[in-house]
Subunit: 189 residues, 2 copies
DNA sequence: CAAGATATGGAGACTATCTCCACTTGTCAA
DNA sequence: TTGACAAGTGGAGATAGTCTCCATATCTTG
C-alpha cells in the first residue's frame, strides 16, 4: 500500500535532503519560509521540491508523519497497560505536553484536521482512529460516556492545536483537557 | 472611543458599499474571493478598499461586528434572566446553532481568535469577556468549577469555529458543547 | 555500454497583494 | 455662492510568492 514505487536512488536522496532540511527549519521555528527557499536551502531545484511535495502541507505531513505515528502507537500501548479511562487521560495529557514542545507538529495537525477531505489527511485520520480506540475501550469499560463521538473530541483537540503557538496557551490547553476528561466521564445519570 | 473621526460623506458611502457587498458575498458563501475584486464588485477602486479595510480579516470583522456584539449582548440577557449554569448552557447551544447557519461568522471568529495579539482582535475579546462573565456568574452561584479559566473554554470554541464548515460537523459540535458543559459543572469533589 | 526510463533545476509565467500619487470631491469660512 | 484646503479616490504598476515546463542530466537494466 505504501511501497507502490521504488523511487530512483537520486530521487530518494533529494527527498531525504528536503525532509531533513524541513525538519531542521521547523525545529528552529521557521514555518513561513518562502516555499521555494526550502529547495534552495536543501540544495535542490524548485521543480524537484514540487515534484516530491506538491504543497507546504504535504511537506509538513511527511516531516511529522513518523512522529504522529509514534504518538498513535503510544495510544495503543497505554490502552494495553492501563485501565481505559487512565489511558485516555495519560494520552491526552501527553499529547498536549508534546504539542507544546513541538510547535511544528501542532501547526501541522491543525492544518491536517482542517483538511479532512483531502488525500493528505490520512495522517489526521490516524490520530482519529487512535482516539476512537481509546474512547471505545472506555465505553466498554463503563467509565466513558457513549453518547459523544470521537469527532467531538477531535474538534476540541483541533482548537488546542490551533491555539498552541499563542504564548501562554499552555495553561489554557491543560484546562481544556481537564474539561474534556471530566466531560467524558460517564455520568451517574 | 469609537467616534474619533467624522468620516467624510463620500468616504462613508464607499465604506458602506464595501460592507454591503461583502455581507452579500459572505452570505452566499464566497469567502475566498480575490481581495481586489471586492473593490471592483462594490464599485470602488482598489486603493479605497485598502484604505478602509487593510486586510481581509479587517473587512470580515467589520461585517460581523454587529452580529458579534448582538451575541454578546444576548449573553448578558441570559445571564440576567436565568440561573448562571442554564444561561451558560443556553448561550453555548445558541452560539453553536448560530454558527452553523452563519458560516461566515464562524470563519471570521476562527480567524479573530487565532489573531489574539492584533488590533483587530477586539471583536474576539468582546466574546472573551462575555464568556468570562458567564463563567464568573456560575462560579459565584456554585454550579461552575473555578479551576478552569475562560481561555480554556475559548480554546474549545475556537476548535468548533474552525471545524464548522466541514460538512456534518454539526453533530460533533453539539457533542463538544456537551462535553464542555458537563466538564464545567462543579464536581462534588 | 546503450537505450530507455526517470529525475533534475531554475528561468519565467502567472497570480494575488498592496502602494503610490495625480486627480476628484466634499467641506467650510467668508 | 465661491475659493481654498483637506479628505478621499482609483487604478496602473511594483512586489513577491507559487508553480510549470522542458532541455538536460542521471540512473537502471538488459
Amino acid at each position: 500500500m505504501t511501497a507502490a514505487k521504488p523511487l530512483r536512488a537520486d530521487a530518494r536522496r533529494n527527498r531525504d535532503a528536503l525532509l531533513a532540511k524541513a525538519r531542521e527549519l521547523f525545529a528552529s521555528g521557521c514555518f513561513d519560509l518562502r516555499f521555494d527557499d526550502f529547495a534552495k536551502l536543501a540544495g535542490v531545484g524548485t521543480g524537484t521540491l514540487y515534484r516530491h511535495f506538491p504543497t507546504r502541507a504535504a511537506l509538513a505531513e511527511a516531516v511529522y508523519r513518523e512522529e504522529l505515528t509514534a504518538m498513535c502507537a503510544r495510544a495503543g500501548e497505554l490502552q494495553a497497560t492501563l485501565p481505559a479511562a487512565e489511558a485516555l487521560a495519560a494520552f491526552l495529557r501527553g499529547f498536549v505536553n508534546h504539542l507544546h514542545t513541538h510547535l511544528g507538529l501542532a501547526r501541522t495537525l491543525a492544518t491536517l484536521m482542517a483538511t479532512r477531505s483531502d488525500a493528505l489527511a490520512d495522517g489526521g485520520r490516524e490520530l482519529d482512529r487512535a482516539m476512537a480506540g481509546l474512547l471505545a475501550a472506555g465505553v466498554e469499560e463503563g467509565t466513558i460516556r457513549d453518547d459523544v463521538g470521537a469527532g467531538a473530541v477531535m474538534m476540541v483537540l483541533q482548537g488546542i492545536c490551533t491555539a498552541c503557538d499563542e504564548p501562554g496557551s499552555r495553561e489554557d490547553a491543560d484546562g481544556a483537557v481537564t474539561l474534556l476528561l471530566d466531560g467524558l466521564r460517564r455520568r451517574p445519570s
